[in-house]
């Protein structure tokens, strides 16, 4: 038997993965793994799919595999939104959760989510805009947030909090609340608790207050790269000016933007989601939970904190921030923590990402309802997460479905336990 190949391919892609939009799309073999969770981890027929879009709409176009076909058709000039009333809807109805990407990577080194995001950017660049996005874009351009709120009202969540304003004073740590926490009164408590905890942990923390702007994540996921870049550069500059070394957030979208994307825009800040920080302190013994919190809860992995937060190195595990929140919940006295069937890299999305919450509210709510059902099936009293977008969407879905399930942010439990 020969030890080496007698004829070696001249194709460099044979030997080493490198990203090319067309090549990745061509490499799609239509295996359909992008629609299903990992079969090894499957626990029931009912909760076995990973792609909300394909599960809801069924036709193959509504899937990552479909988007690979559409990418090639668009790049080849075969298909244009003028030819197809559904084309833009199909491409934008994906919440960019990355489930397809994670499952595809079980099989091979392909970045299918990146193709979808690049496709959106191309369409935006070509002027093929989804009308439903315009209200978000308008809100960003006028008021620097995605929530249609007034810039002047941005800091209302922090009223009465004794915390440094980074436009006036320097601080080592910037807490970034994010658009959702800033403008959703139901979630102000999450931001306030986060700041108080960071102060309790002895950190020199400040906030940008009403001068805080969007992180740019949603704009990026929707294909508006120019908008994203604007916010990235603005935030990086603002933090530098304020002498910040570390950025902490309680929002998964913001975390993803700061940790994964901002380095490409020159950021050198350390970035933590607050759950990482709390888990670190627990591990070091710097803090301890002393109060019992008798409840049965389950935890939802936000996509931007989970599989989307993984650095992609071909072959390496898709490690997002899975363990930190679980470690926190396990250490809370009196708390019973039960897992849902689809967790970590197999987590079912909340339905709020990628501009879907804004542009396709019915599908967004349907997606969240599926997750509420899955959470309820564990017997938990509450679904806990670490992202305001997830929590808001679950709260709306639970109300719509008259579910008794409570929706909590993990900081609500941490605050009670400390």
């Amino acid at each position: 038997m020969e030890e080496k190949p007698v004829y070696v391919s001249k194709d460099p892609r044979m030997y080493k993965y490198s990203y090319d939009m067309r090549a990745v799309a061509e490499d799609c073999v239509r295996c359909s793994n992008c629609k299903w969770m990992d079969p090894w981890e499957m626990q029931s027929k009912q909760f076995s799919k990973i792609c909300p879009m394909n599960t809801h709409y069924l036709a193959d176009a509504f899937s990552s595999q479909g988007r690979m076909d559409l990418t090639l058709a668009i790049l080849d000039g075969k298909l244009d939104p003028d030819d197809s009333p559904l084309l833009l809807d199909i491409i934008y109805n994906c919440d960019t959760c990355g489930g397809c990407d994670a499952m595809c990577k079980r099989n091979g080194d392909r970045e299918v989510l990146r193709v979808t995001l690049d496709l959106r950017a191309k369409l935006v660049e070509d002027g093929q805009l989804l009308p439903q996005h315009m209200v978000v874009l308008e809100s960003l351009r006028r008021e620097d947030n995605t929530m249609m709120g007034k810039r002047a009202d941005r800091a209302q969540w922090a009223e009465g909090l004794e915390v440094k304003e980074l436009t006036q004073e320097k601080a080592e740590v910037a807490f970034h609340a994010g658009c959702h926490i800033s403008y959703n009164e139901e979630l102000w408590n999450v931001g306030r608790t986060a700041v108080k905890l960071l102060q309790k942990f002895g950190l020199d923390v400040g906030i940008m207050g009403k001068d805080e702007t969007c992180c740019g994540c949603k704009a990026y996921d929707m294909g508006y790269r120019g908008e994203y870049t604007k916010y990235a550069e603005n935030n990086i500059e603002a933090w530098k000016t304020a002498g910040v070394k570390t950025v902490v957030t309680a929002c998964a979208d913001c975390y993803w933007a700061f940790k994964k994307m901002y380095p490409e825009n020159g950021s050198t800040f350390e970035v933590y989601h607050i759950v990482e920080y709390i888990a670190k302190l627990l591990e070091e013994g710097a803090i301890k939970f002393t109060n019992s919190v008798p409840a049965k809860v389950t935890y939802h992995d936000p996509c931007h904190l989970g599989r989307r937060a993984a650095d992609y190195i071909p072959g390496e595990p898709l490690m997002g921030v899975y363990d930190a929140p679980r470690e926190i919940l396990r250490r809370i006295p009196g708390l019973t923590f039960v897992e849902m069937e689809r967790i970590k890299e197999n987590a079912w999305c909340c339905g709020a990402g990628g501009g879907v919450y804004e542009a396709f509210p019915e599908h967004s709510q349907w997606t969240a309802s599926q997750r509420i059902e899955e959470a309820a099936a564990t017997g938990a009293e509450a679904i806990v997460s670490a992202c305001p977008w997830c929590e808001n969407n679950f709260a709306e879905a639970a109300a719509e479905n008259e579910s008794p399930l409570q929706v909590l942010d993990i900081l609500n439990l941490v605050d009670k336990a400390l």
Binding site: M1, E2, E3, K4, P5, Y7, S9, K10, D11, R13, M14, Y15, K16, Y17, E26, D27, V29, R30, C31, S32, N33, K35, W36, D38, P39, W40, M42, Q43, S44, K45, S48, L58, A59, D60, A61, S63, Q65, G66, D69, L70, A73, L79, D83, S84, P85, L86, L87, I90, K105, R106, N107, G108, D109, P314, G315, E316, P317, L318, K344, E345
Partner: protein, 527 residues
């Protein structure tokens, strides 16, 4: 065909009237996504279907088929679409039936079978069956593929050595014939609502869904099938560790043992397979060439080539995998291992060294339970080189055609089925990254025709896979199956609307006969 032509509109309106507008698509973006998959020849398939429809149940399928006959439009069916090449459109006004709404699963624990509709995946059956101490065999194509589809087409499964060809494990079935009549077999035909028995009086109509590739929807659409389940000696939930793609699953050692046995040539490996088969030990038995050992294990191109350059995969040689499952007891495991040891020595095999098995087995072996990730083979653009030891890596099918005849040993993957009474030898190839031309497709077909008689003659007793309609394949092997198949096809599908051109291309046969007759007439006149 322009989608605003009158016939298109007539068919569209009729489909919408039957199924509702939410489940009928002719949007160019939707139909574009029903055109290709990673296996030749679909890379060169030129057409989109004009319609994609999503029926909810057997009655909906019946409505579509009756419409197709009335309005004379062709249709095909494919659910997960893994073998989408065989459903891709070949003609105008093609309707792709996507049965994703048909996803009912029912497990009869006592009688050990599962009734599945088209869009129930192997993994779904597997997890529900394991909860009841049962196991369903699954194909290399993966846990996400349709359980029904695998049982009626291709039908090779990782445990096929023990559990047999999938299409022999069908009990009762229900299908819609090309004229719209609903056929139910076995106990279902006796007026009962039970699937447990598949045979009925007279000829076994399950013959419709037998043969190696099945009829690909050309003789009807199977809407429900009962598939046999087998005893499962393992845990309900698989014990996994880690995060994708670096995931492990180590099944309990008292009931599951995996052995990798090295042989220096394919023929020696085949003798090993024969000996093991005769002794009737093992639950999963297969022979892999070194390249296969790679694609099952490696999670990236870099990893594959690093291990290749280290000589890792050549240390596997031609590797016979034996999975011993203690289905009856732990004693069965001990006994079979002792027998295996004797057979390995007798046939000149050697255990693959422990360093390799300790790495390979935890990541790969349990994939023979569910989800073998065969699609990993297609990560690297040129797929699996079929030649000696995986010694050739080629850029195009044309290169393959040129290089392969110089190499005698065409091992890739050999699976004994039914305890060795049947075997499948699969030689995989995929076009290179830049090679998706019509010429490449022709080169692939020509290579198949050239290579397989050689394999038949020299290496294994049974035929390999030929992906082509019967009228092309059968004459090459001297059989008359195509003439019989033509008669059956014409009887069942007189309008030739059920996936025309696949299974058997009656139009091509008619055209060939007509051309031959004209030629004979011309020659007669000239004479």
């Amino acid at each position: 065909m322009p989608i605003d032509d009158e016939r298109h509109d007539e068919i569209l309106d009729a489909l919408i009237e039957e199924l509702g507008e939410d489940y009928v698509f002719d949007d160019p973006a939707v139909v574009e996504c029903y055109r290709r998959e990673g296996q030749s020849p679909s890379y060169t398939t030129p057409m989109n279907p004009e319609f994609v429809v999503l029926p909810e149940n057997t009655e909906d399928i019946q409505k579509i088929v009756r419409l197709a006959n009335r309005l004379d439009f062709p249709y095909s069916v494919s659910s997960t679409g893994t073998l989408g090449a065989y459903a891709a459109a070949l003609k105008s006004h093609w309707c792709w039936i996507d049965p994703k709404r048909m996803n009912e699963l029912h497990i009869d624990e006592k009688n050990m079978y599962a009734v599945v509709e088209p869009y129930v995946s192997h993994a779904q059956v597997s997890v529900e069956a394991r909860k009841k101490g049962l196991y369903n065999a699954n194909p290399s194509a993966g846990g996400q593929t349709s359980c029904l589809a695998n049982h009626v087409a291709l039908g090779t499964q990782t445990s096929g050595y023990r559990t047999g060809r999938a299409n022999r494990n069908i009990l009762g079935l229900e299908m819609v014939l090309p004229d719209g009549e609903i056929l139910r077999t076995g106990t279902l035909a006796m007026g009962q609502d039970e699937f447990f028995w598949g045979e009925g009086p007279g000829p076994d109509l399950r013959g419709f869904v037998r043969s190696h590739l099945g009829h690909l929807g050309a003789l009807g659409i199977v809407t429900k099938v009962a598939v046999k389940l087998f005893p499962w000696p393992g845990p309900a939930m698989l014990p996994t560790e880690g995060v994708a793609p670096q995931k492990k699953c180590v099944l309990p050692d008292d009931r599951f043992r995996w052995h990798l046995i090295r042989y220096d040539t394919t023929l020696e490996g085949i003798e090993g397979l024969r000996a093991i088969s005769k002794a009737e030990i093992g639950s999963v038995v297969a022979l892999f060439g070194p390249w296969n050992m790679s694609h099952h294990y490696s999670t990236s191109r870099e990893e594959h080539w690093k291990l290749w350059d280290e000589g890792w995969f050549h240390r596997f040689g031609y590797c016979v995998l034996v999975g011993i499952w203690g289905v009856t007891s732990e004693k069965q495991v001990d006994y079979e291992e002792k027998v295996l040891e004797i057979l390995v020595e007798k046939t000149g095999g050697k255990p693959v060294d422990k360093e390799l098995t300790d790495k390979w087995i935890p990541h790969v072996a349990a994939r023979n339970v569910i989800d073998p990730l065969a699609s990993r083979a297609q990560r690297i653009p040129t797929g699996i080189p079929p030649a000696q030891g995986g010694g050739i890596v080629y850029d195009s099918l044309s290169d393959g055609k040129r290089l392969i005849p110089d190499h005698d040993d065409l091992a890739a993957w050999i699976v004994p089925i039914d305890l060795g009474h049947f075997a499948m030898h699969a030689v995989f190839a995929a076009p290179g990254a830049g090679d998706k031309s019509k010429e490449a497709e022709e080169a692939m077909k020509a290579w198949q025709m050239a290579a397989f008689p050689k394999i038949l003659k020299e290496q294994v007793a049974e035929a390999g896979v030929i992906g082509g309609p019967l009228h092309m394949v059968a004459p090459a092997f001297g059989s008359c199956q195509h003439t019989m198949a033509e008669k059956i096809k014409k009887a069942l599908d007189p309008k030739n609307v059920a996936n025309p051109g696949r299974f058997i291309n009656v139009e091509a046969m008619e055209a060939a006969r007509k051309a031959a007759a004209e030629k004979a007439q011309q020659e007669k006149e000239n004479a």
